[in-house]
Symmetry: C2
């Protein structure tokens, strides 16, 4: 049986706190010792990825302390309970089964007489069958024409993860001849978002996927109506073009407004839902169901690595623990995510939701106020773009921001150009290698304006290429990192009560049921 | 004569520090007092925008202290010196003239015998003449066809600002019939960036604008060669399709590789260069030179408001000072920028560069290490999307993150739908009003998981619509805010030495001149 305790009650945490400021990254990363660390502080992930933490503020003593913390906080046991179907989402009293949607890591999970793995697989098969028929031309529009575009209507987790993965693989799929349909996304309630997408496509040859677990998300229902009107105005029968991804109990599930409905359940939260039909429908339509299956396989392989009880062989757990050391002992607030890959342009936005919505909590699993800090602020942009932007502050600002680099040896499209003896891809890789060392070691200069203090910690995940398998593994790595951190902090990483109050007040504004400051702001905005 | 002093030497700063924690936002924003604050704590900007700071942690006492700080730090005098042509960029020994590119705020600025205002206007006229000929069909490709697409090749400031403004006005221009050419952007040295753009356009009908002040930016020159090859492979004469925006002394300036070259000078830094030919060429080609002129007019009008010595009538100075209070007295590290407008989807990325590259410095203008914190970490995404993502941490996380909302009463495209008694635009506005109050006031709940502590400060900039004038004013507001904060912190906001070390080390990697950790990372990445 696992026990849930606040971090500041653990003996190992007190020992860890005593190790504050122990490692000077500039020092340990210099010379031959630096080379040794790069070789040793490296752990394989799934699908050929590697997590390298040489430039983090750790040494063998700190790693040993983190291992004790992992043990005392029962991280492995808690993960096991989770994938075996315990009610881990205590706030909403739900199981947490996003890993199960991509593989069976433990015992069968039976709920209400249903084997949940079978349920997820059945929905994947249903999506596959539908997508195959769309691609083969068996399913067409009323005029008998094939569908060319799939549009996701969803917000938050129904948007960010699937969009980030679509962008990650769009050029890979084009290059490999597996782009079946173009995907578009409508998320914001700003009417200009839906209008701009509708103006950019041929609605008569588009399928729209309405994604809302509850079937009540304001933005999504509004945008659905927006699209519905546009289809009618184009003389089309809207329900020929509409699909739903929702829970079996939602109002959308049995509506005749949809050509087909694919089901999710309450056990996969929005930000974890790329592995469910939320990601499955749009990505299977865009790339083909086989590609979506490869993404899931990559994720499941990474989930398996997270079972290792040795933190030095468990990249997600190790990454999580180093993050806790940085946050709670070293006192850093932010983490920058810096993928050296244009394909991952929106991956930081997905991680921003995943991390900040999961662990941006100030109460524990029992609703008690915590006396230590939890989830960090996450932001990032692709390199090398960021180098010409906010890296100035990262190098020479007054606060230290830990960095998470991601880099690949190969590009996706394969077009390249050799200039001054190197290709663009080599220049890209040279830059990420250079940045790690520049941040870690710095460089003294008599002109202090040109002086780099160094000591800025980073880690890097390195892979061969952004592929379906490797993006799946990357997705799962961060999901599991966030999960382990939630375990350490003793928070519920699977609810999001912080979104409720704003919704409530917005309804009052629309009902003109306001007073005080809310009324004044409403007036200023002419509502 | 102005004098430059560190913030912690100023008497008014010590007085300000004594006011730490004075205002409880949850308290002051409740009830009738909240309504009063919304009405009173509001200051007009240019072009119909309003800066409202009711939900910030200030009161009349703190505002009085900030006014004293503004006076002691000589903010107005320093701005005056700047626009009158003093050498404000002390590190690089340069004038700072981006405001002059859009209007004459003070005396004529003569440098090396050249009236710099006349120089900027002459380049605007040169761009206008060229763009008009492209639009009229006088300038065509070799086959006599009109050009339909303009592609900016630039990185950092040559990319983020112009791209953010293009996206801000693209749908406005389409709706108003002034979109002359589609604009695309190539920035990253990742070869997949250039390849994907090239695959998405008809290169034979595209003009490429190579933007590099020095003519030596690695990414830009690499991508230029990339495009050059593609044009040759398409059987075209590359120089028919290539334009340059560069300084008169750069290697690009007199090359016959370009159909036309437009000039900038050393007195406008990259992140401030949207108002120069860097923004001028691409935006004039995309929207027409008249629209670009309207953007400049909006910016110049906002620059004029920044001259007001009364901080309560100077929104940019006031915003800057409140930011200093939050950063140096209250101790907040981050600021989230949250535009409730899909058109501003990349505006936070521009502000991230503008702010973090300008003030992410730990030495003062004389190269001395500072003992107080400077520029914040900036991040953000459009609302309502962010509400379904990282707002959880903003509402219920363990750290306070000050918020900068931006909202508009009207959409750009004008397509909308009425659902449950309100339009999408009304829902969008209702949400931003609701969020300000939710963050400020919170809401008690016995279930602490659903409890909102409130006390999370924010301000909002409100306008009618994202138009050329209002986006110009918004751009200038933040430029001037950052400038005033740099004055207060006594840093040089106009250089970026923090980007140099990485460049240097990347060159060593490409030359295989590495050892230690750098060699190991290079090996891992197969360089």
């Amino acid at each position: 049986m696992v026990s849930w305790n606040n971090l500041d009650t653990l003996t190992s945490y007190k020992e860890l706190q005593a190790l504050k400021g122990r490692v000077n990254v500039a020092e340990v990363m210099s010379g031959e010792n630096g080379a040794k660390r790069v070789k040793e502080y490296s752990v394989p992930m799934a699908e050929g990825l590697v997590y390298n933490y040489a430039a983090k503020e750790v040494d063998d003593t700190i790693l040993a302390a983190l291992a004790k913390l992992a043990e005392e906080a029962q991280l492995s046991e808690k993960y096991k309970e989770l994938y075996n179907g315990a009610m881990m989402n205590t706030g909403e009293k739900r199981l947490v089964l996003h890993q199960l949607a991509r593989g069976q890591q433990g015992d069968p999970v039976i709920y209400d007489g249903v084997d949940k793995r079978e349920f997820y697989v059945s929905q994947q098969n249903k999506v596959k069958e539908f997508a195959d028929k769309v691609h083969s031309g068996e399913i067409t529009n009323a005029a008998g024409e094939t569908f060319t575009t799939a549009v996701q209507i969803g917000i938050g987790g129904s948007d960010l993860g699937p969009r980030a993965i679509y962008l990650a693989l769009e050029n890979w799929a084009k290059t490999n001849g597996t782009l079946k349909m173009e995907a578009k996304f409508i998320s914001n309630v700003d009417p200009d978002d839906a209008a701009a997408v509708l103006k950019s496509i041929d609605v008569s040859r588009s399928l729209f996927i309405v994604v809302s677990k509850s079937g009540t998300t304001l933005e999504t229902l509004t945008n659905e109506s927006f699209v519905w009107n546009a289809l009618k105005e184009a003389g089309l029968n809207p329900s020929d073009h509409m699909l739903a991804v929702t829970s079996e109990t939602s109002p959308l599930a049995k509506s005749s407004d949809y050509r087909e409905a694919f089901f999710m359940d309450d056990f996969i939260g929005g930000r974890y839902s790329s592995s469910s039909a939320v990601g499955g429908a749009i990505l299977s339509l865009a790339f083909g169901p086989e590609i979506f299956a490869r993404i899931l396989n990559g994720a499941a392989a990474q989930d398996a690595t997270a079972k290792n009880e040795d933190i030095l062989k468990n990249p997600s757990m190790l990454d999580a623990l180093i993050g806790v050391y940085e946050r709670n002992v070293q006192g850093y607030l932010c983490t920058a995510v810096l993928p050296y890959s244009q394909a991952l342009s929106r991956f930081p936005a997905h991680l921003q939701q995943l991390d900040m919505e999961s662990n941006g909590k100030c109460v524990n699993r029992f609703g008690e106020r915590l006396n230590y800090v939890t989830g960090p602020v996450i932001f990032g942009e692709p390199g090398t773009n960021g180098q010409h932007s906010f890296y100035q502050l990262l190098h020479q600002g007054t606060n230290i921001v830990p960095l998470q680099f991601i880099g690949y040896r190969n590009s996706q499209i394969g077009m390249d150009v050799d200039i001054q003896g190197s290709t663009s891809q080599q220049k890209l890789c040279a830059n990420v290698a250079a940045q790690i060392v520049a941040f870690a070691c710095g460089k003294e200069d008599e002109n202090r304006n040109k002086n780099f203090e160094g000591g800025r910690p980073s880690s890097i995940i390195i892979g061969d290429q952004v592929t379906p398998e490797s993006i799946g593994a990357l997705l799962a790595h961060f999901e599991n990192k966030v999960m382990f951190q939630g375990f350490v902090w003793n928070v519920n990483s699977f609810d999001q009560e912080g979104v409720q109050l704003g919704k409530l007040l917005a309804k009052r504004v629309l009902a003109h049921d306001t007073d005080g400051a809310l009324k004044e702001y409403s007036d200023l905005l002419n509502i």
